[in-house]
Subunit: 331 residues, 2 copies
DNA sequence: AATGGCTGGGTAATCCTTTACTCGACGGCT
DNA sequence: AGCCGTCGAGTAAAGGATTACCCAGCCATT
């Protein structure tokens, strides 16, 4: 594979000049620069990234560590990050932590070792791995979930408020016994959605009971079991707040199996506006989160922090939007 | 940031010994190795990846370049690749080419520059960028779509046969005028699905007409327009073969808007078994592709090729499975 | 004409690890 | 006792790009 000195030899200049010419430094004669570029072209020269990164002590790469590649919410964030990063010549590498602190930790180690310019992550919960980033001075921003003990840039959705509004909407529609199926204990978004749900019950002076709450992983299977379980009770819920779209799949399946019709029999509102939400019968009411925007905002914050790591930490909270459709309306 | 010589100084040995100890080479005294590890621990030493990769001339990283991160088919492949790669200590970086030859090309350049160990990609169509990989001797394998002029490892689905079977199924159900909505010209899977559709028509001695075929990008919006367009014709189709699940969303929306009921009025079979396929009414008949398996197979092939780039090229073809549900049954 | 400033480009140090080569020490063998 | 093989560990040379520093030449100024 051609190196910079091959190019230098071919163009009849020193390696320093090749480097300057190829990186567009001003101090190179125009004709010479052209000759260098031609030589590079002819040899099919591609600079050696590791060598460059070693010397520069930084790579034009940002790592994006998300908790589930198969969740459209996170892939939409990824798109947002990618679009912004590409504009300024950064590459994005996507890592899937799979909601596992160990994998997250491992990817953070890799990111540090590869000396990436920055990291965007949806923290799994444990903060120790993130401390490593902070202590090394690697720029990072958290998305979707805050970092308790760190003052870092964070981009969040006001998910507690959104959950409250969604629940209030169900109450306003006349549902009486509203249940909640949310994510695992300790996952901040899951806790917040539950808190918002309770806020709404309290505001409406409805009694809140753990009998109507189930927590499982953010997947269809867990939500399916949870819904089965809730509906099999002596006093089953007449409405459900569901914490993401994968879970909504499980819940709707459970309803189908029991011959229960969403809306008329059991009101449903789920987080995340999946593309299929309007296709089911009745259409699914959802809380739409601005995932793409989370990505773009986070990327811009990260880029700012890469250039100046002393800037004060910020918290950006974006609003979610309740979209009322048939599944939360009686008859 | 601590370097290997800091560790060496702290442990009172040479850098060579530190390197050997940390990389588990046998020629280091057990006690010494322990001392080194402790020193590394205390300093929070993380080896410098670029320096290591520079020296080793290769990184334990594989790049996965897929054409759409938001398509569950590709994220399932990604999971498969990741699971296999992790087992042997490789990291996976995911790049989104967005069905654009230019972005694909850019990511291939990045992969070459970073000297990744190998590349798995779903080729967008143009082969020139892939030739760069071949000419540099970087291991790569293609997934989902073959590379016309390259003899490389390929992992495919027998999508033409699957399309034929799906169409034959529609014919067997009594549908007469079957249409096809598939991806862009030049994208191999789109061409194959169309070819399989025609195979089935021919086998049943049905006339094939371009009036019943529409090609658009592999997205909901394009398929929505295509379906609208097909159904607005004087002699509209009474069944549709749809080339992926995002397109299915667009098609089902179009049917809904026109008050047409899938199955009874217009038979539908779509590629990709989306999680919501059973939730719509009637449930959607699909061609399920073994996406996760494509990923695992591709990753294993890549690893084999990384260790021996002279091995002969192989083509693995996996079968898809038709799942008959309500949307392809009259009444 | 001599000096100073400026421009363009070369030399060589540097980034940090890995590893080929070398060497000392020790144990065993004759 | 002397020699050889083995083992463990150090020295130093890559690996390829960037860049601080330096120098040659040219123009302008006095």
């Amino acid at each position: 594979m051609a190196t910079i000195s091959d190019v230098a030899a071919r163009a009849g200049v020193s390696t320093a000049t090749v480097s300057r010419a190829l990186n567009g430094k001003a101090t190179v004669d125009r004709d010479l620069a052209a000759r260098v570029r031609r030589a590079a072209e002819e040899l099919g020269y591609q600079p050696n990234g590791p060598a460059r990164n070693l010397r520069r002590q930084e790579a034009a790469v940002v790592a994006l560590i998300i908790s589930d590649v198969e969740n459209p919410f996170f892939t939409a964030i990824a798109r947002g990050v990618e679009d912004v990063a590409h504009e300024v010549g950064y590459s994005v590498v996507l890592c899937n932590s799979d909601e596992s602190a160990e994998k997250e930790n491992r990817y953070i180690d890799v990111a540090i070792q590869e000396r990436v310019a920055g990291v965007i992550l949806s923290p799994s919960g444990t903060t120790t791995s993130v401390e490593k980033l902070a202590s090394r001075g690697t720029a990072f921003v958290a998305v979707d979930r805050p970092l308790p003990e760190q003052d870092s840039d964070v981009v969040l959705v006001d998910t507690r408020l959104a959950a409250k509004q969604a629940t209030a909407h169900l109450i306003a529609q006349g549902y009486q016994r509203i249940g909640c199926i949310t994510g695992p204990i300790g996952v901040r978004t899951a806790d917040d959605r539950l808190a918002g749900y309770r806020d709404a019950l309290k505001a409406a002076r409805l009694r809140s009971t753990t009998k109507l709450v189930r927590r499982t992983e953010y997947k269809a299977a867990g939500a399916h079991r949870a819904a089965q379980d809730l509906l099999a009770q002596a006093e089953p819920p007449d409405a459900l707040l569901v914490a993401n779209s994968a879970m909504a799949v499980g819940v709707l399946q459970a309803l189908q199996e029991r011959g229960i019709r969403p809306g008329r029999d059991v009101g449903i509102v789920a987080f995340d506006d999946a593309p299929w939400a309007e296709l089911v019968d009745p259409p699914l009411s959802v809380v739409a989160q601005p995932a793409y925007e989370i990505g773009t905002v986070a990327a811009r914050l990260l880029l700012a922090r890469i250039t100046d790591n002393t800037r004060p930490a910020t918290t950006t909270t974006l609003a979610a939007r309740l979209i009322e459709r048939g599944s939360s309306h009686h008859g």
